[in-house]
Subunit: 419 residues, 2 copies
């Protein structure tokens, strides 16, 4: 894409009302736009990140056999009354429909997905399966000061599993952990993200959170470096040692919850009578699990933990573009070369943001660092003369001059764009 | 995809509370699920159609230079007060935020997109551009009895153009017409869809609707068969002849509005002071247009106008799967052959729904007609013996026996999956 055509521009100053690093950098880069506290719009660069994150998640959840659906935002009141949550969920938004009836604005989708499942489940042959979606969720957050980490309106992947019995449920639950680890690795925060034991509700001793170390995190976790797992502060009083190896030397850290997986047991099957007939013709309850990842929150977390003083450092698989091609000077030769290289890179399936703007080199470099594509490629009079292009890796700052032949070497390109 | 793994099933009976053909067939086929009047969830088959429609639109709108964004659902009240629509738009949903402040639940996005544009527009050099999104919209419909044609919550593509002057605006407006025609052609309803002159508001004599002929349509249009354009009933009293050729023999027909394009002039630029400095340093107002396509409505219209007594007939480019592979009998040879053919088709990039269920052939054929993939491919003991597979085109009912060699002939495959 030509940067001159991109309707957004970078800003030098952060908006005064934003206190979080993620919102500050994302707004300065033109990735997002704040509409009100906890409510943001995603601009072209930001939406590209969202879509890349969604695609990673889609691939991994499809790998679990998940079937993608898209549920409604408006939920009938009676479904929420049926689960007892109409009056107990404090952050539930309610709105009057044209008929004068109240409806809920979905903060989570058990009330919708379970009645859907019920229409299609009657026999053990119909199980197991799992359903997921990417959807805007709405929660009446009292404090929404963390940028896109905690919104009143936020994008989420929610997955629900339906199993015949505990064993089948546990199998899926364990597989979901592996898929989640893969997702966070591909999103570039794998090494900083810990499976964390948290309180489990009615049906299991623990639930599992995925917590990413961040000094700005709202959560506190206690890490066992031996097992690479953690315990959430909320249960550390009763669980003073590592649940896996009994190690009592746990390291206290701040972290951001980027995902969670939860055994729902029969809580919602009970509410909606979600049952099936087993091989012997006996009625059994369906065992459920739910598995969430906040898409905006994941994007915000990546910015919180991977950015540096100059701006954002996008990991390869979630960057809006793989390469930021920067042209210096306004000679026809430089432009022709830049256009040629862009076309050839795009032919190889590589996303390129091409800075063709007529601005000073210093401004181009500063913008490039702020926007944070994994590689910056500079084409200038000088590079033309030398028959080489300059490549800078955003993460390490490492610079190299390479010939075009080297640049288009498949192995080199693969290294550039990953994974 | 294996049909045995699909969590939905077909139903013989239509739900009693659905009076529209689109909802009846889509619910019977397991494409959608009704949550309440005018509110539906999209199940795996339905979401596949939605995504195919979105991709067609994305390609064509990107071709116009449109930049994709994703705006918020919650809109600050003050933006709606600024345009004067807070109290005048009857179907606007309002909800109280945690702070006690009221917010609007977006029925359209001028109030959001114009302030966003304003942040980045200062000079004539920043124009023109256009922004679009796919978003859930919310409107307090009093009657919501048309299935997914008219919802309280509905998916929409909305595009907004920002131009320096009338000429630039008109250029884009004319190009958008061509893009829209292309979209409806690719969606399979091109020959039934007419550009229709409708009332234009403050800034132009007419706006343009795209109306698709349908006996169940809510709109009435008057067609000039010579020019292939139409006039909406609402302006026929003042416009009794074809606006293009003055032909007064117009044909009255029922139709569904699948899209519209509209000159907004400076209505919203005025409200938010969206101005720029021209080449001479003079302040000028930005000229806007808006361009909508209801995604769910388009899907529903395709069902209304293309289905037959046996079920849905999906056009090639929007079908959830290109081929419905049906295996008959339960011999290991038939299964092995079906799996082999599925794998080879998928390797060619063709979406296949493979009916591997253990049900009677009659049920499989009835389901296949109801679900409506463009081609049905039958593999049975008989076809194995003959060394051929049976292909039936859903639209025409035409059946052919072809050898595997013929099936995998590139030209033949291209014909199958189109475009």
């Amino acid at each position: 894409m030509l940067q001159s055509k991109l309707f957004t521009k970078t800003r030098k100053e952060a908006p005064k009302d934003e206190v979080s690093k993620n919102a500050e950098l994302l707004i300065r880069g033109g990735f997002i736009h704040k509409e009100m506290a906890g409510v943001y719009s995603y601009l072209p660069l930001g939406l590209r990140v969202i879509k890349k994150i969604e695609n990673i998640i889609r691939e991994e959840i499809n790998g679990l056999g998940g079937q993608e659906i898209f549920m409604s935002t408006f939920h009938p009141k009676e479904k929420w009354v049926a689960t007892g949550r109409w009056n107990t969920m404090d952050d539930l938004y309610k709105v009057k429909d044209s008929s004068g009836r109240e409806v809920a604005i979905g903060p989570t989708h058990e009330e919708i997905v379970v009645p859907i499942a019920r229409e299609y489940v009657s026999s053990y042959k119909d199980l197991p399966f799992s359903l997921y979606q990417f959807q805007n969720k709405f929660r009446m957050e009292l404090r929404a000061k963390s940028g896109i980490l905690r919104g009143r309106e936020f994008l989420m992947k929610d997955l629900y599993s339906f199993s015949k019995d505990e064993k089948e449920h546990n199998d899926f639950y364990e597989k979901s952990k592996i898929a989640y680890k893969k997702i966070f690795e591909r999103a570039g925060i794998g090494s900083k993200t810990y499976i964390t034991f948290a309180s489990g509700g009615t049906f299991s001793k623990y639930s599992q959170e995925f917590q990413t170390l961040a000094v700005t995190g709202e959560d506190t976790i206690h890490i066992c470096e031996k097992c690479k797992v953690a315990v959430n502060e909320e249960i550390i009083a009763e669980q003073k040692v590592c649940p896996e190896c009994d190690n009592d030397k746990l390291q206290k850290e701040k972290a951001i919850e980027v995902g969670n997986i939860f055994n729902l047991g029969t809580k919602f099957s009970d509410a909606f009578d979600l049952v099936y007939l087993d091989e012997k013709g006996e009625k059994k309850k369906v065992i459920m699990g739910c598995y969430g990842i906040g898409i905006g929150r994941l994007m915000g977390t990546i910015v919180e933990v991977l950015s540096d003083k100059d701006g954002i450092v996008w990991p390869k698989e979630v960057a809006p573009f793989s390469i930021h091609l920067v042209e210096l000077g306004d000679s026809a030769e430089v432009r022709a070369k830049a256009e040629d290289i862009m076309a050839r890179l795009e032919k190889e399936g590589i996303d390129v943001l091409y800075d063709d703007r007529e601005v000073r080199p210093g401004e181009k470099f500063a913008d490039s660092d702020l926007l944070g594509m994994p590689y910056r490629l500079v084409i200038s009079e000088r590079s033309l003369k030398e028959g080489k292009v300059e490549i800078k890796e955003r993460k390490t700052g490492e610079m190299n001059m390479v010939s075009e032949k080297e640049l288009f070497d498949k192995v080199f390109l693969k290294k550039l764009i990953g994974p």
